[in-house]
Amino acid sequence: MWLWYDWRAAAVADDHGSILDVEQWDGFYDERTVVARLECIAAGGLTAEAMTLMERFPEAKPRVHGELDLPEADWPLPDDDAQHAADQAAIAMATRGVAQAAGDPDRRLEHLMRASDEMRSTFITMEARLVEWVGLFLPEARFGHDRSSLGKTVSESESLEHLSQTLGVSLPPVGPGKSEWKSLKEWGGSVSVFRGQLDRLEHAIRQLAEEHLPSLSALLGPLLAARLCVEAHGRMRLARLPAGTVQVLGAEKAFFNHLKTGAPPPKHGHIFMHPWISRSPRWVRGKISRTVAAKASIAARVDAFGGEPWGEPEMRLLEQKVEEIRAAHSSPPSRRK
């Protein structure tokens, strides 16, 4: 005996397909209720009608419409009006599903991350141009490593003379024209605006990463945690990756070159950004990145599957381990075998 049901009706039939009993929902096809019913079926639940029939025929096997083992029978299928109501509900569900994508931190993090990358590359180009440009008019000016305030200084100067006074250098005889100086001044303004924007972007990434990936952020820092999450296409996917893949995430080119030509495999991908690896001597980087990637992979799983988030103590433990590796290999290995 079979219990057939869809979102608006349920029926019981024997094995030969003769209908024994039918229950139909005769409410108005109001969108919210239809959506709730469709969702209930999608989650594998029984509708109210199916439940009623289940009580009447406890031995019937419940099957949602369309399952392949149901016998052929004259099931009470929806008429045009009912179908129209279901279609409207499906559109509402799709619209809501699309809107819910905005709540997905993986997608939000990806936009932030890519925006910050684009902003950084623009900022670096523009800042380099500014330094060259000012250097052309004021050859004596030296900026060294502290260029951070140059954009602001230029944008706040009234004229090249004013700028040369602020920078404490002499003014050469030839200077820019009026509109040329204005362009330079505005360029400086853009550079300083971009710097502020970049800081705010990174702040937003840090905040979101610490919320979305608390353990991984505690272990590797929020920016690197966010980078790994974005490169892996989402937190759940990152959690399912083996540690070896986490280790070379971001070094795909070298990795596939290794598979193709047998060149040495990459020792690290994005994880190289971490000072434990980038500040270590070359010969221990591979060892450290293996250890760090293994822990990072566990941290990602803790985050993705709702474990007790890691914090400072776990980070210290790993740091200690990294120190041990460094201490055990304090000198480069000999080149001879």
Binding site: L38, I41, G66, L77, A94, G97
Partner: protein
């Protein structure tokens, strides 16, 4: 100027779809509106939208088929299933054919896609195109949206570009397609496991899998030129 020598050879494939030598046109179901920047043109008072075959695998298949291209289209006014809806390029033209202005043909087009990004376009499309039912869901999980197709259908299209697409296709056809119904499977070589024997061996294998699962492969349409490394299988379900 002289006399008009620019006479086009056009054939109507259905009440709405017109085939020209290099492009397809469908009667616009939402007059004066382009969906993806395609050109609109009046042919003797009726507005058509240009169906760019290099942006739609269904369009490419209609251009490339050696059979009667009208066989690849569903019956106007019927209910069809489209798995892997994408951004709605093919969907919009299919809707033109299936439903027409204000769904005068009374067709239904259930379009399933997994990506919220794609569904965003489709839900916009659905607002002006009654008969189009977008579904945000996994093509493999029939339970979530299968109740939207209470009766079996005669036309199913799949373009999902993910591993195991042939199994997804076979499962969907068994559940939703009538005996003798047409199934179109757009296959991307790069989405299947590379066996090292080359593309045609890969497609041969798919063909034999389809045949052993109770399908008759009517035609294997190479889309090269429009969509490289893609093949479209036109099959009929026989079991």
């Amino acid at each position: 100027m002289g006399k008009n020598t620019n006479r086009r050879r056009t054939t109507m494939l259905s009440w709405s779809v017109m085939k020209e030598s290099r492009a397809l046109w469908t009667i616009n179901a939402v007059p004066r509106t382009a969906v993806y920047g395609e050109s609109l043109r009046n042919f003797s008072g009726t507005e058509f939208r240009r169906w760019d075959p290099s942006r739609s695998k269904l369009g490419a298949a209609i251009m490339r088929t050696k059979d009667d291209p009208a066989l690849l289209l569903p019956e106007a006014g019927s209910t069809v299933l489209y798995l892997g809806a994408g951004h709605g390029t093919s969907i919009s033209h299919l809707h033109d054919h299936l439903c027409g202005i204000d769904n005068q043909q009374r067709g239904r087009l259930v379009a399933v896609d997994l990506a919220p990004r794609c569904l965003r376009e489709l839900t916009h499309l659905a607002k002006n195109r009654p008969g189009l039912v977008p579904v945000l869901g996994d093509a493999r999980k029939h339970a979530a949206w299968g109740v939207l197709l209470p009766r079996k259908i005669n036309w199913l299209f799949q373009d999902v570009a993910q591993a195991g697409q042939v199994d997804i296709f076979i499962a969907a056809c068994r559940r939703f397609l009538n005996k003798g119904g047409v199934g179109l499977l757009s296959l991307k070589a790069a989405s299947e496991r590379w066996t090292g024997e080359g593309e045609s061996a890969l497609f041969d294998k798919v063909e034999s899998t389809l045949e052993s699962s109770g399908f008759v492969v009517d035609e294997r349409i190479e889309l090269t030129g429009y969509e490289d490394n893609h093949v479209l299988f036109a099959v009929r379900m026989m079991e």
